[in-house]
Assembly symmetry: C2
Homo-oligomer: 341 residues x 2
């Protein structure tokens, strides 16, 4: 039998994981990375089909499945120019790779479990991201991202690991009842795990989604967290928390889009939405660490990273909201984040 030099080195962790999945499937006793991967893929399917069902024009998501040369890959689902959403993206990405020493040293600040004495480390990352930009200016843009990261030894045994993620709402026009519903749904998911989570992660979110050069937040927040590892809680507990956050997404957002998608609106309101989309672009391109990390990763799939940008955006020099207007009311809240629950 012919054996290639690569095969002599033994199968990669990604290859071994593929074999395990094919032969035994993913069960409760599978390694966390396989369980997280299976979970985000199942969630992606459910979210995509729920969003498709919203669209009376029956437009479907375009599905692109891509693989990475060193293992892993992703599924990008994007719906464009639909009747409910101008742009909707729901992406999973699974990455197997090698961390060089400087990256390990940087990560050790937050994760003492990382071995400081190695030149490089195998790592795995799995995540699900979603950004929805509705057509109707009364309906808010929403975003979430939940991810799992681990480092492994050469045999694929997990070394350090952590979870991160969050979700936030970006209305062009503020409906208090929507903001309250969104925050309350997230808070309930958090409270099941730790009463301290919601206040802590709500504050982290307000801090993260801030546009310093505008002196305003991107939207009305939600939750944001990163680096949740064994110093926070046990892995199973955190996975269960992440699962509850993710499954809270549809209940947190569906009632809002259903209520707002068919509201009448004026040209002026549409223009205001487009200006707010401009701010969204500013945050994502200037400040978002996820986007900038992605754009700086060699071989990254740029179209999947930038699916978060709106279909269209607008910049008007010296635009000013009228005194007492709905536009001014939103700006006030963006300049001074509020408690919603």
């Amino acid at each position: 039998m012919f054996t290639s030099p690569l095969q002599l080195e033994g199968p990669s962790i990604a290859d071994r994981d593929t074999l395990v999945k094919r032969e035994s499937g993913v069960t409760l006793s599978s390694p966390m990375r396989l369980r997280m991967e299976a979970f985000v893929k199942a969630q992606q399917k459910e979210i995509v089909s729920t969003l498709e069902a919203l669209d009376p024009s029956k437009q479907r998501f375009r599905v692109d499945t891509w693989t990475r040369p060193n293992g892993g890959g992703g599924i990008s689902c994007v719906l464009q120019d639909g009747s409910v959403f101008e742009k909707a993206g729901v992406n999973t990405s699974i990455v197997y790779g090698t961390l060089p020493r400087p990256a390990i040293e940087k990560m050790r600040v937050n994760h003492k479990a990382l071995d400081p004495d190695v030149e490089n480390l195998e790592f795995f990352a799995a995540g699900l991201s979603c950004v929805l930009h509705p057509r109707n200016p009364n309906a808010p843009t929403v975003h979430f991202n939940y991810r799992y990261f681990e480092t492994m030894d050469a045999e694929g045994n997990c070394n350090a690991w952590w979870f991160g993620g969050g979700t936030d709402l970006t209305p062009s026009y503020l409906f208090d009842e929507d903001a309250i519903h969104f925050h309350r749904t997230i808070k309930e998911a958090c409270d099941k795990h730790d009463r301290g989570y919601y206040p802590r992660f709500k504050q982290w979110c307000d801090k993260y989604f801030y546009i310093p050069h505008r002196g305003e937040s991107r939207g009305i927040g939600g939750i944001f967290f990163d680096d949740l590892d064994e110093e926070e809680k046990e892995q199973e507990q955190l996975f269960s928390f992440i699962k509850d956050c993710l499954t809270a997404f549809l209940p947190s957002y569906l009632p809002l889009i259903e209520k707002r998608r068919d509201m009448p609106f004026t040209e002026k309101e549409k223009e205001w939405q487009q200006l707010r989309r401009g701010r969204y672009v500013e945050f994502n391109l200037v400040h978002d660490r996820g986007t900038s990390f992605g754009l700086n990763t060699p071989g990254a799939r740029v179209e999947s990273i930038l699916m978060s940008l709106p279909l269209t955006a607008r910049w008007i020099y010296m635009h000013d909201a009228d005194k007492g207007s709905r536009e001014e009311r939103l700006l006030k809240v963006l300049r001074e984040p509020r408690d919603w629950v």
Copy 2:
């Protein structure tokens, strides 16, 4: 007579310069900073009135004059939603300020004349920037920026100084004759001073206006340079070079906008222009050092910095240019910069 504590410290350099300008005007023997300021302000007036004369709807530039608390200020001239230009900005900015030690150390890499033994240094900067985004997709976007920078002792005597700047053209549809005219006009301005300038600064421009995550240039280039000081040429010679670059702007661009402004175009061509505007936004927000320096400067006038963004932009997931189309032809040139003269 009442004397305020501030007056006891003596007038600032900005105050003294204001007095000199009022009492004696700016002449050939004035310090370079006053001559550069006078020159860019005169150029701004001429460019603004020439561009206004282009617009049959007689729309005028909005003029905002602003001052900086520590001296200096600027004039922002912006025309929006005109019949020829969707957005046109022509800004001067004059800055008096103090450089902290880390900034001085960074600048010493390029300017040995900077005193390494001071805690801080007074500085002055004067510049003129312009970005024009035409309505017609056949007409190219154009940008230029020319600036002078100096450091001074407490009495206002110039210590180190340098010039920087450049201009570049960003067509949505490529007309070879336009690209050739633009580059030839700039080359002639350069050649009058140094036959080596155009090839050197053209290459610098191609390198600077590159969008790595897209693997393409923002446009078809022009010239770009920075840190031209006494190691390059004498101050008078460089000022004369900068003046020729600036006065070459209208001749380099006017024939193009006059030829293209009234060409018929399709909806599809307008959409392609909007996609290219999206790339312009990506370059300016992710890569442009000028923009990022501006946004990170406390107290900067954000509206003047971001006037460079187009009125509207578009992002389409996985957009592809048709084989053999005009769109594909542009992309080829953006991926492999060409020599135009």
